[in-house]
């Protein structure tokens, strides 16, 4: 029995100035349906490269990825991406940005009213109904990222890919969005692969944490199951010894075994 999403022996080679550079090597990750998996590692270790392979934006030199029994071959709306820098189109309103994705995925078989309904529902899910007529440059960074999440969720993807979605936000906004994401996950149980470099975020949100070794030729170092019960609350976890033990495991991997990367 194969997993829902299976990254199988993936190596990615980049060519720059005539030299080839092995970014990630022989990466194996299996993700079950409805599972929340986080990939963590030092910056430059190729976390985003792995995500881009799943997204179909980067082609692996060897190996491949299979989602729900079908080999991944190029980008597709069934693998929605929440980009780190939100990537909203500045000339469209929040509604327009989400609607563009909804229209592409469901436009062929649904009426205009149904498409608008889907768009509104996605914005309501992230708590942005009040800002739907605003343009991206009129709302805060946290709100932009919410729109990015709404756009991805509205596509009803088979897997939601998040590339350090909260990395550019301040700590309070980040905590806010993490809670919002946990609420959404409690309702909809999406399959999620998220990239992060934030240990607390990884433990708080994930079912499993995939820890990557340092690049070049980065690969999966260890996989840690986060068996904390859900729903999780950050205040309760703050005094939970299990939370601290898991956190310490990741920190040990990142700072003792992988040390610091040569170039920061």
């Amino acid at each position: 029995m194969t997993a829902y999403l299976e990254i199988d022996n993936v190596s990615v080679v980049f060519k720059a100035r005539g030299q080839s550079f092995v970014a990630v090597q022989e990466v194996d990750i299996k993700v079950d349906q409805g599972e929340f998996v986080t990939i963590i590692g030092h910056s430059g270790c190729g976390k985003s490269t792995v995500l881009n392979v799943i997204a179909g934006l980067v082609e692996p030199a060897r190996g491949g990825a299979v989602l729900a029994g079908r080999e991944i071959d190029g980008p597709s709306p069934e693998r929605a991406v929440v980009f780190q820098n939100h990537s909203l189109l500045p000339w469209l309103t929040c509604f327009g940005n989400v609607h563009l994705a909804v229209e592409r995925v469901f436009g062929a078989k649904e009426s205009k009213a149904q498409l608008a309904e889907r768009t509104n529902a996605a914005l309501a899910l992230v708590g942005l109904t009040h800002a739907k007529a605003k343009r991206p440059n009129e709302i805060s960074g946290g709100m932009k990222q919410r729109v990015g999440i709404a756009r991805a969720l509205a596509m009803e993807p088979k897997v939601l890919l998040m590339d350090e979605p909260f990395g550019a936000l301040d700590a309070l906004t980040r905590a806010n969005l993490q809670d919002a994401l946990m609420d959404i996950q409690a309702k909809s149980r999406n399959t999620v692969v998220m990239i992060t470099h934030d240990v607390d975020e990884a433990v708080l949100l994930s079912d499993r944490v995939v820890m990557m070794t340092n690049g070049p030729a980065a690969t999966v170092g260890e996989v840690l199951s986060i068996d904390l019960p859900r729903p999780r609350h950050r205040l309760q976890l703050a005094t939970d010894p299990r939370y601290h033990a898991l956190r310490a495991d990741i920190l040990r991997f990142l700072h003792e075994r992988q040390g610091h990367p040569i170039a920061v």
Binding site: P75, F83, S87, L89, P90, W91, L100, A101, R104, R135
Partner: protein, 257 residues
């Protein structure tokens, strides 16, 4: 509010007054240069009947202006029709861009007037030759700016398009077009500026009706007042075109709301 309004109005007013004063002083010592007073009298007379027709070579300044504006509009319009779509193609496809680059680099610095004889030879008539000259000189800024705009659409937006697997047409209408409109309009503004500069010179050579022809005709009549009026009118119209384009650019730029 009143103070800042005064601060905005006073310095330009002062600058213009100083210019008129210097003009008046210089004119007093010159046999040919008319002073501000006689120019103003002449202008009042001229603008009291701007739309008269006394034969093909003697028409009101209004008709002459309209004739020039119409040539600019036609030449510029044709250049936009060709230059903007071509700019999109060059910006989107590197290989085609490389093929065109040497041609554009070679022809762009050529003065538009150098094309006038070719226009006259091809069309055998003055009016289409002048429009052709305007076409040639205004196509380059539109072509180059559009291509630059398309080529500098952020990769982030194109990644969104890739993940959504948008069709090439949707990418064009929903991403490339809105993202590059500010560049296209900058190109259009530059093109109109150059077109307005060129039309005066072309009309001096082609004759007929037009503000450039009118200016040259008044030189032949040795009517210096009219030449000064023509200079001011050309300046005012050029300024109006530029301000108008700024308004359009502001209206269609997604960065301003």
């Amino acid at each position: 509010m009143a103070r800042s309004g005064l601060a905005a109005v006073l310095p330009p007013l002062f600058g213009i007054s100083a210019l008129v004063l210097i003009w008046a002083l210089v004119a007093r010592g010159s046999d040919y240069l008319p002073g501000p007073g006689s120019t103003l009298t002449s202008a009042i007379e001229l603008f009291s009947d701007p739309f008269y027709r006394k034969g093909p070579n003697d028409q009101g300044i209004g008709w002459n202006l309209l004739a020039s504006l119409s040539r600019v509009a036609q030449g510029f319009g044709l250049a936009a029709l060709v230059g903007i779509p071509l700019g999109f193609v060059l910006g989107r496809f590197t290989m085609i861009s490389r093929a065109f680059q040497p041609i554009v680099s070679l022809l762009r610095p050529v003065s538009p007037l150098a094309w006038l004889p070719i226009g006259l030879a091809v069309f055998q008539a003055a009016n289409p030759a002048a429009i052709f000259t305007i076409f040639i000189c205004s196509i380059w800024p539109m072509l180059l700016n559009t291509a630059l705009g398309v080529a500098s659409v952020p990769q982030d937006y194109l990644n969104v398009a890739r993940v959504l697997r948008l069709s090439e047409w949707t990418v064009f209408t929903r991403i490339l077009l809105p993202a590059s409109i500010p560049y296209v309009l900058t190109g259009a503004k530059l093109a109109l500026g150059i077109a307005w500069l060129s039309i005066v010179a072309s009309e001096m050579l082609t004759g007929g009706v037009g503000i450039g022809f009118w200016l040259w005709d008044e030189w032949n009549n040795l009517n210096m007042e009219h030449i000064l009026i023509a200079i001011v009118v050309i300046g005012v119209v050029g300024l109006a075109i530029e301000q108008g384009m700024n308004l359009v650019a502001k209206r269609f730029d997604y960065r301003s709301n």
